[in-house]
């Protein structure tokens, strides 16, 4: 009995000790970046551990680029006794730069908010890559230029730490707004017709008669660019045209917009896209640059924008020569108010598919409903509200295969296009090239690439660091930038490279419309080169999760104005006011002298 007790205790001690050691071992694995993912395929090569954000654009591009790089450096030795490189990829939605120096990955492809990236840089957690960005050329990969020369010079500062050195490279950009069903628009005649022919539709909201295409008259209006035969033909160029279009669609039994209930904040993508197009490049950029001229709101009038809606026109003034001290006027700009007002109207009129009220209506279901538009019992929806990355995610979920099955077309390619946004809140409809307007677009997120600074903390990692840096250089070559877009249908942010026919031909129709939109118009990137922005970036950077789109009432945060209209009974003016700034509030809470 005594012997049994002794053996029993001994056994427990061994088990406990083993569990302690295993715990330590597990920590060790985590520290060295074991994690999930691809797994390195060659122990005799230098292993580059990559953390790739799991949403948005997927990992296919990374695997393909990695294979090309492997092939290119297969005879090169980065570490003693090893030849070439191999990759260990972790592709997960939880990939983040936060606490980078305690993670075991070498390279991070991220979609964090900018302030989080800056915080890591300032902590010293990110590797200085100034040498490969501005000092070395890409000659090893056949180009005699630096990475820096390829990055938009207006935004190079954004990739640097406060010490003026480079720590990040831009990754991808996505456009905010909505995507519409081209076939549905053609079939139902929702495009705005050229002139006063086609289906006449009197819109009570605008008090005007608008003309839409039909089977007998299919000549579309010229769109923002004023040129016939381009992507924006038939799409609204003024806010009232957009209102009339939605009203007409609703009249025909089609709900104009749909957004996921589990991500009601995606509505902010539509607000952002609409605001930017209405504002134009200079005014929209002024939010972060604190320069130029803006039309800003000083109060609310008693004149209704659309009769009977209780949505009123703003009182505006023009502010010139903005500085950081008057930067609040850019945030209070009229275009932002009009975007809020449109969403309130959409809420009132039921132009957003009612499932946004259901928290279980996920983004995947919303995508599926839009892709299977009107098929298999699904409701007819005009457009899907989300960032342009949604298309890649839908492909990842294999949703276009459902379309192939249910549509009977035998094709996984659906005719979808980016919804071209109106560029004026007045009545100045674009009729030709003479009064054409730029349709400014906005990059809806911050996506960057970084190398882990902890590689530099201990000696002996020189080879891995060099391999990581070479990989980033390789990814910045013209051909790799093209390959990236051809694979993902998404453009690289801030990089200057040519998206030519060889790239476009690889893309689906939707992705092509995005590329042409981006090529023909300027893109606003939300980086400001001033002390106020650097200290308080979050207050003036707009994205779905941005506080600027999240009105607070009675201490409760609403994730989009739509939610405040719906749950709190608030209106556009109230939401605009609480997300804007008075001069006093700005000077006390936000402003930092340069």
């Amino acid at each position: 009995m005594k012997g049994f007790k002794k053996a029993f205790l001994k056994g427990i001690a061994v088990v406990m000790l083993a569990s302690t050691l295993l715990g330590g071992a597990a920590c060790g694995v985590s520290e060295s970046g074991g994690g999930s993912g691809g797994g390195s395929d060659d122990s005799a090569s230098t292993v580059i551990k990559v953390a790739n954000f799991g949403g948005g654009i997927g990992r296919k591009w990374l695997d393909e680029a990695g294979n090309r790089f492997k092939e290119l450096v297969k005879d090169k030795s980065y570490e003693s006794g090893k030849k070439g490189v191999s990759f260990e990829v972790t592709h997960a939605i939880g990939v983040t730069c936060v606490n980078m120096n305690t993670q075991g990955y070498h390279i991070f492809f991220l979609q964090n908010k900018y302030s989080a990236c800056v915080a890591e840089i300032q902590k010293g957690a990110v590797l200085d890559i100034t040498d490969i960005v501005s000092e070395e050329t890409l000659s090893d990969f056949g180009e005699n230029v630096t990475i820096e020369s390829k990055i938009n010079e207006n935004y190079r500062f954004a990739m640097k730490g406060n010490d003026g050195r480079y720590y990040m490279l831009p990754h991808y950009e996505t456009q905010s707004g909505a995507s519409y069903d081209v076939d549905l628009f053609e079939k139902e005649g929702f495009y705005i017709a050229d002139g006063d022919q086609g289906t006449a539709y009197y819109c009570e909201l605008t008090g005007q008669t608008h003309y839409f295409t039909n089977d007998s008259y299919n000549t579309k209006s010229v769109g923002n660019d004023g040129i016939r035969g381009t992507d924006d033909d038939g799409m609204p160029t003024t806010l009232n045209e957009l209102v009339a279009m939605c009203d007409h669609m609703m009249d025909e039994g089609v709900v104009p917009f749909s957004v996921a209930g589990s991500h009601i904040d995606y509505t902010n993508y539509l607000i952002e896209g609409l605001w930017t197009a209405l504002a134009g490049y200079e005014q929209r950029s002024a939010v972060v640059s604190h320069s130029g001229t803006v039309d800003y709101v000083t109060g609310i009038s008693n004149v209704e924008l659309w009769p009977g809606t209780g949505i009123y026109a703003p009182v505006t003034e023009r502010a010139e020569n903005l500085t950081s001290a008057t930067g609040y006027k850019a945030i209070n700009q009229a275009a932002r108010y009009y975007a809020y007002a449109f969403i309130e109207l959409a809420y009132q009129q039921g132009w957003i598919y009612e499932k946004y009220k259901e928290s279980n209506y996920t983004h995947k279901e919303a995508m599926r409903a839009f892709i299977l538009n009107g098929l298999s019992g699904f409701k007819k929806l005009g457009a899907h509200i989300e960032g342009s990355y949604w298309y890649n995610e839908a492909e990842g979920y294999n949703l276009f295969n459902d379309y192939k099955i249910f549509s009977g077309t035998g094709s996984t390619v659906k005719n979808i296009a980016h919804w071209h946004m109106p560029t004026s809140y007045g009545d100045d409809v674009v009729t030709g090239e003479s009064n054409a307007r730029e349709e400014t677009v906005i990059n809806g997120m911050t996506s960057t690439v970084m190398i882990n600074g902890n590689l530099d903390d201990v000696s002996g990692n020189e080879g891995i660091i060099r391999a990581c840096k070479d990989f980033l250089k390789f990814l910045s070559t013209e051909q790799e930038l093209k390959n990236f877009t051809a694979c993902t249908g998404v453009s690289k942010s801030l990089y200057s490279y040519t998206i030519d026919e060889s790239v476009l031909s690889e893309l689906d129709p939707y992705q092509q419309t995005i590329m042409r939109l981006r090529a023909n118009n300027r893109v606003v990137n939300q980086y400001g080169d001033n002390a106020t922005y650097r200290a308080k970036a979050g207050y003036m950077t707009y994205s779905i999760s941005a506080q600027g789109f999240h009105p607070y009432f009675d201490g409760v945060e609403y994730y989009t104005p739509l939610q405040a209209y719906w749950k709190k009974g608030k209106n556009a003016w109230e939401c605009f006011e609480v997300t804007g700034y008075s001069e006093t509030k700005w000077m006390n809470e936000i402003y930092v002298a340069d």
Partner: protein
């Protein structure tokens, strides 16, 4: 033992060997908890205390931060946040009332029912403990679908209600549904512990009370509750300490999007996830969040100690 061993070399070795084995056993048992205590309690709390009095800003012209002594400015900001968001306290107190006051009382009654081996008692035990077998996340997900999709489907198909929203989507039923969920999910463990404690009650005490003519209610109030009172006090105290840290399962059910239902615990959890050292938007900095933590600790510590003392002093007795 020691003296005997001193005169015999092999015995000394045996004693030392035993001592060493005991030490290894002891260390292997306590090493991880002690390490965890040092990191997760001592380090975190000291760091949190220091943070509450610091203000971080980015260094200009170099990497790093400008760290300044903030005095009580973080506490002022915390106070402003808490004053504006009083609904969080209301939700925390509601949760405490339903899960602890109501939930524990019901659990006591159910446990007594099971303990007395009344009909289907064992079935109740299994059914009530079932949620605890499933992963919390899985159970939350199931509940979410039951109270939204299934509820809407049943209302529409069986009761032909045209306009109906899920229980967790409707503004009118959301909070009540979550409170019910919290009571339900915590019920099983309470019942299990109470019925376990009750099964340890000496049968002779119960028989004696019955011989003296005590009915079931009298037995429950005068015998059962006093004898398991220490277990009840433990539960009450533990739940009370979690008054301002309990998240009400909001994050599992809604992610970061449940601000209108926030408890203080949920607010701290979500914002410590979203926050940074330097606040560049409305999300409070870690310093402000630390100050909130200290303020609530200052309130809860004396209250908890007081409650425990009061429960022990004024609790029921078997005498």
């Amino acid at each position: 033992m020691y003296l005997q061993a001193k005169g015999n070399g092999s015995a000394v070795r045996r004693v030392n060997y035993r001592k060493r084995a005991r030490n290894i056993f002891f260390i292997s048992i306590v090493a991880i908890p002690v390490l965890q205590f040092c990191i997760c309690y001592i380090y975190v709390n000291i760091n949190s205390f220091i943070l509450a009095f610091q203000d971080y800003g980015y260094a200009q012209g170099s990497l790093g931060f400008d760290i300044k002594f903030a005095g009580f400015s973080n506490f002022e900001k915390s106070w402003a946040i808490l004053s504006e968001r009083t609904f969080m306290f209301r939700h925390s107190l509601l949760l405490f009332f339903w899960t602890t006051i109501v939930g524990l009382t019901l659990a006591l009654l159910f446990s007594y029912y099971i303990y007395k081996k009344y009909p289907m008692g064992e079935l109740f035990r299994v059914v009530l403990f079932m949620p605890k077998i499933l992963s919390g996340v899985v159970f939350c997900l199931l509940f979410k679908y039951l109270s939204n999709e299934v509820y809407v489907y049943v209302a529409k198909t069986l009761f032909h209600v045209e306009e109906v929203q899920g229980l967790l989507d409707s503004q009118g039923t959301k909070l009540g549904t979550i409170l019910f969920f919290n009571v339900w999910v915590g019920f099983g463990i309470h019942v299990l512990m109470f019925s376990g404690a009750m099964s340890g009650i000496d049968e002779s005490v119960v028989e004696s009370a019955q011989l003296d003519g005590a009915n079931a209610i009298q037995e429950f109030i005068r015998i059962t509750v006093p004898l398991i009172w220490p277990t009840f006090v433990s539960f009450l105290t533990i739940n009370f300490t979690g008054l301002f840290t309990n998240q009400m399962h909001l994050h599992t059910l809604f992610g970061n999007d449940a601000d209108e239902l926030s408890t203080l615990g949920y607010y701290l959890y979500v914002n410590s996830h979203r926050g940074e050292l330097v606040a560049t938007d409305k999300v409070p900095s870690f310093s402000v969040l630390s100050a909130i933590g200290l303020m609530t600790t200052a309130v809860m510590l004396p209250l908890t100690l007081g409650l425990r003392k009061a429960l022990r002093k004024f609790g029921p007795s078997v005498d």
